[in-house]
Symmetry: C2
Subunit: 279 residues, 2 copies
């Protein structure tokens, strides 16, 4: 097995590339998989996207993303449900078994966090059987607690597992994203729990770098540029039984302004040094 055998490019990392460009870039860099984003898929259409990926010999590690399930307004909830059902269908059409969910934050002016979390569980209950029918697993991504108010009321791996375990393991799993979970003192125990239950649907990597940028969303660095111990984390994820794709997902303006081919060279190099060392 080559050191890049499990490496995947999450498409946001090369945000300046269209889907055809990203697919070509992965093929040329020897990266065997890609995590697609719905907006980029929409630019070419799901059928053509699926064809391009297949023709290039790539696997689709995940589709990003569904979610945003916390609205209180009934019409907004119906719209969210419909959009997530479309996302499940797109995932199936693209040939991936993993739909990443960012569950959504507090509605504007709302302070009831427990109620928002309950609404997430309620919509998951409507979505999960449909996803299961299409062979797609809903992958709940706990986001870093600094995004609790505006993006995801699910903030820890333990909390994501509490939600996922309400449903069969083939319908709902969790995403382990280093950037979001690295600080968690319960991480080791929760990874073991996730592994024992067969709940790890995706492993994403990106580093925590300082200082945080003006836009907190864009603070992620290349693996190795920050303070996350990727060797230990990857060992824990591996010990939990996860053998799937390792997706590099970096939101960072500077990375986005770098030519894609150069970014992919960095990905391969960092992956080899910090995540899956040779021999």
């Amino acid at each position: 097995m080559t050191t890049t055998a499990r490496l995947s490019l999450n498409q946001i990392t090369t945000r300046g590339w269209s889907l055809p460009e990203a697919v070509r870039g992965c093929a040329e860099a020897g990266i065997p998989a890609i995590g697609l984003w719905r907006d980029k898929v929409a630019e070419v259409g799901a059928a053509r996207a699926a064809g391009l990926v297949r023709a290039a010999g790539l696997s689709v590690s995940s589709l990003c993303r569904g979610g945003f399930l916390t609205a209180t307004d009934p019409a907004a909830r119906r719209a969210a449900l419909a959009d997530n059902l479309r996302a499940v269908e797109e995932a199936a059409e693209l040939g991936t078994d993993t739909l990443v969910l960012v569950v959504g934050g507090l509605p504007e002016g709302d302070r009831d966090l427990p109620a928002a979390r309950t609404r997430v569980a309620d919509l998951l209950a409507e979505l999960a059987p449909h996803a299961g029918d299409l062979g797609v697993r809903l992958a709940i991504e706990p986001l870093h607690p600094m995004f609790c108010a505006d993006r995801a009321v699910v903030s820890t791996l333990g909390q994501a597992l509490d939600l996922a375990e309400l449903f069969p393991a083939d319908q709902v799993g969790v995403v382990v994203d280093s950037y979001h979970v690295w600080w968690d003192p319960e991480l080791g125990a929760q990874l073991a729990r996730a592994g024992a239950g067969g709940r790890i649907a995706a492993y994403q990597v990106g580093d925590w770098t300082l200082p945080l940028p003006a836009d907190a969303l864009l603070g992620r660095g290349h693996v190795g540029d920050g303070c996350i111990d990727f060797r230990t984390l990857t060992d824990q994820v591996t010990a939990a039984g996860y053998t799937g794709w390792i997706e590099v997902e970096i939101f960072n303006q500077e990375v986005w302004e770098t030519p894609g081919a150069e970014t992919l060279r960095t990905l391969v190099e960092r992956h080899t040094v910090h995540v899956v060392p040779a021999g």
Copy 2:
């Protein structure tokens, strides 16, 4: 009991004021207590600071802050220990039983989070008996996980309690700061645990407002300006048996540029409306 009977001004909230100005401001606003900062105390000397506070009829709710216990270099660790011992003595001299500790982040270039956490426990073991001897409790403050790398490797109330419970309850407690813990899905359970063990040493309030500012440290808003449900949180803290001061601690450039007397009027008003409603 008036609605402000438990209200305290944490001195950082009126950062532009010297200690004598803050003491006078509290007395004039009918705020019965103040949480002091060491740099402001140092400007006038601990003895004079203690005298000023006493003469104004104020209580000292806490001293901010000791900590920064994560250095690896032996000389730096000895210096941290010595500085914290001085902080304990200052707290005793100022007449407060509570020294707030911000435990420190990862040393530059270091990625070993578990080891940093162990070093915190090791230095606490050296400090705790001395603090106990002087009637001062070390109050471990879990900071929001977005400060894990650079300020505090203790990120949740549960983790702070795990540390505190290594020591007698009169030597080591925890700080509950709304801004740092509001997102935590375990918060209710950990508050109950903290209360049952008599570990809540301080309750600080400040709101989570969006968007996060360029300097993430300065993102706190006045109570009521953000998305924290202070009524519910205060009920939980009260149900846990905490009857002590409620300190308002706000790091916010705009608040700092507001005249102190105006800030104190806002404190009293928000406290009455959102934290301890009349009647």
